[in-house]
């Protein structure tokens, strides 16, 4: 039998949970709250990862006061060595680089999300937006893969180290990284919970329920939709940065349609329109992912021929179908959210009595 380190597994699962939670919350804001079907989630996640790929190879050496080395091709090894050295010895440069990466990724993804929403305004049918996002995500992936110099698309960039690498203690480093991921997920959760209960959330839910009526009530729905796409994309990109740091690797092959589907599974499983549902979905999928990995190892050590990764996808498909058919609201269906104003009215009525 193999030994499973419970502590390390828990840290790995919770780190993954934090990353998935960011993606699920972002999709829940877009689709669950505002009804915008973002089938291009992988694109916005990948923007974060690609940004990390660029900053960790170009910006980090500059911040450390060193000359950057071209990360691809023959100088690949030297560049990797340089990165590792800086991350190990100059934590300040590493942290500044991380902060800039977050800011840059959020800005780029937010702008792209905003712009995409406006470009697709002229679409004849609503579901074309889903198609354009799906297809657009793949197009960008192919174009980035073709542009070899940017993030070494042929081989990917490895050695995108976690920010606490300098501690030289893998356990402590992963633990702190987990805390970072969880803290960001918590911030995103609190932000979106407040958003949902605000007048902005009210408008978005109106938009989801009836677009024409909402326009007829004086709301600039194109702007609202672009705004929520910007917010959602920004959160997804932060998830993407963490995703790259967690695997230590940036590769275009990670950002295919299956990633988008994974995020949809999380939201459908947890509960469309409910931020807590998004968290629950992210947690369940993170656990399942880890179990699938452990299961694969056990199976292979037992000499089984079955590739466990395939079973994972079949299971995801079945979960999705099961939920859509029997529990379309998810495990935690959307609760009846009321806005601030209800308290005021309650007081007014109370005073009148």
């Amino acid at each position: 039998m193999i030994n499973i380190d419970i502590g390390a597994t828990a840290v790995a699962v919770l780190t993954l949970f934090g990353i998935y939670a960011l993606m699920a919350i972002s999709l829940n804001l877009e689709y669950g709250v505002a009804g915008v079907p973002n089938f291009g989630k992988a694109l916005f996640v990948s923007i974060g990862a690609y940004t990390a790929g660029v900053t960790y190879t170009r910006l980090l050496p500059l911040l450390a006061g060193l000359e950057s080395i071209h990360p691809c091709g023959p100088s690949m090894g030297a560049a990797l060595q340089l990165r590792s050295e800086i991350m190990a010895t100059q934590p300040a440069a590493g942290f500044i680089n991380l902060a800039l990466t977050f800011a840059l990724a959020a800005a780029i993804a937010g702008a792209v999300g905003f712009a995409v929403s406006y470009v697709t305004l002229r679409l004849k049918e609503e579901w074309f937006l889903a198609l354009v996002l799906l297809v657009g995500g793949e197009t960008v992936r192919i174009l980035v893969r073709g542009a070899d110099d940017l993030i070494c698309s042929n081989n990917g960039i490895s050695g995108v180290a976690q920010p606490f690498y300098f501690l030289r203690d893998p356990g402590a480093s992963s633990f702190l990284f987990m805390l970072l991921a969880l803290a960001l997920a918590l911030a995103a959760y609190l932000y979106s919970e407040r958003l949902v209960r605000s007048p902005f959330g009210r408008m978005l839910k109106g938009l989801r329920e009836n677009e024409d009526v909402t326009r007829g009530l004086g709301k600039g729905i194109s702007l609202a939709r672009a705004q929520i796409m910007a917010v959602g994309s920004l959160i997804a990109a932060i998830g993407g940065v963490l995703f790259a740091l967690n695997t230590g690797f940036v590769n275009t092959n990670d950002f295919v349609v299956n990633l988008t589907l994974d995020v949809w599974v999380m939201v459908v499983l947890g509960g469309i329109g409910n931020n807590r549902g998004a968290l629950l979905g992210a947690l369940l999928i993170a656990i399942m992912d880890r179990l699938a990995q452990i299961g694969a190892i056990i199976l292979n050590m037992g000499g089984s021929e079955i590739e466990f990764n395939y079973v994972r996808f079949i299971a995801f498909g079945l979960i999705l179908l099961w939920m859509l058919r029997y529990r379309p609201g998810g495990l935690l269906p959307e609760s009846r959210l009321t806005t601030e104003a209800h308290e005021v009215v309650k007081r007014v009525i109370g005073a009148a009595k």
Partner: protein, 306 residues
């Protein structure tokens, strides 16, 4: 562009365009009759290809038998996905995105069942075992027996399908369904039966396309999924409603992917790695600039079944 390359790429265009047409017609038909953009369509193609491969590996090399097996398996896969997934969701007032997601989910399941099977029986990257022969050689123009199988079969099937839609009672009922399902029910069309037949037809054609595809390239669990975007691009060029538009769209996509891509590569040094981006760009451009596709160009002649 050297004439040899040009000729080869044009032959490819015709060959691949014919296959795209077979597959894209299924997408157009499902969308018209069932109001469903079916992303699992790719998997019927793969299932058909594997059926053909297994039959050929068992020693049966008669192409007709192979095609029939592929048709049967493709049709069955489509019917099962309808009965198990799409039909229960009908009439439940589910959102369009639920349908799209469901089609992704059933596609994922079929795809990875095929993966598991291919893995278990070692069926990765095998070709359907019909030997390659050169039938015709004139200058740069080389036509193999594959071309002789793929192109006429596709064209004949497209013609049969068109006739079926136009001339047969079933075709009339399918058109009625595409037009207005409530009305169709009112005038006594057995909607469920027509839907079942439509699924069989759609899946069968996809299956045959898979078998023909497997004649020219290796069979792999991802082959259908890899082509789905090109196929969707063709259907979207047909406005997701027009038959002739879809066939035209299929050849346009194939032409762009082969001849145009090669032209850009030879003359401007554009990396062939960008080839998969072509159908995406076509889809986005059509949806944004001309969502009706070819339909208004060919006017009424292009309406479903006409």
């Amino acid at each position: 562009m050297p004439p040899a390359l040009l000729t080869t790429s044009l032959v490819n265009t015709i060959q691949i365009g014919s296959l795209y047409a077979l597959m894209a017609l299924g997408i157009t038909l499902t969308f018209s009759v069932m109001k469903l953009p079916n992303f699992a369509h790719a998997e019927y193609v793969t299932a058909g290809a594997y059926a053909a491969l297994i039959v050929s590996l068992s020693g049966v090399l008669n192409p007709l038998v192979i095609m029939i097996a592929a048709f049967a398996v493709g049709a069955l896969t489509a019917l099962i996905s309808h009965l198990a997934v799409f039909k229960p969701l009908e009439g439940r007032d589910v959102s369009f995105y639920t349908l799209i997601l469901s089609s992704f989910a059933i596609g994922l399941i079929i795809r990875y069942i095929l993966f598991t099977m291919a893995d278990y029986f070692n069926l990765f990257d095998l070709r359907i075992a019909i030997p390659l022969q050169i039938l015709f050689r004139e200058g740069y123009l080389i036509l193999s027996n594959l071309f002789a199988w793929v192109v006429p079969t596709s064209i004949v099937l497209v013609i049969i399908l068109t006739l079926l839609l136009n001339r047969s009672p079933l075709g009339r009922e399918m058109r009625a369904l595409a037009d207005n399902i409530i009305l169709a029910r009112v005038i006594g069309i057995r909607v469920e039966r027509v839907k079942n037949y439509t699924w069989l037809l759609v899946g069968g054609l996809a299956g045959v396309a898979g078998a023909l595809w497997g004649l020219q390239t290796a069979v792999h669990p991802l082959m259908g999924w890899g082509a789905i975007i090109s196929v969707f691009a063709a259907a979207i060029l047909g406005g997701l409603s027009s038959f002739s538009g879809t066939v035209m769209g299929a050849y346009v996509v194939a032409f762009s992917e082969n001849t145009v891509m090669l032209f850009l590569n030879v003359n401007y040094g554009l990396d062939l790695a960008f080839k998969p981006a072509i159908p995406f760009i076509i889809i986005i451009a059509v949806l944004l600039l001309r969502p009706q596709g070819f339909t208004n160009l060919i006017k009424r002649a292009g309406d479903l079944g006409r």
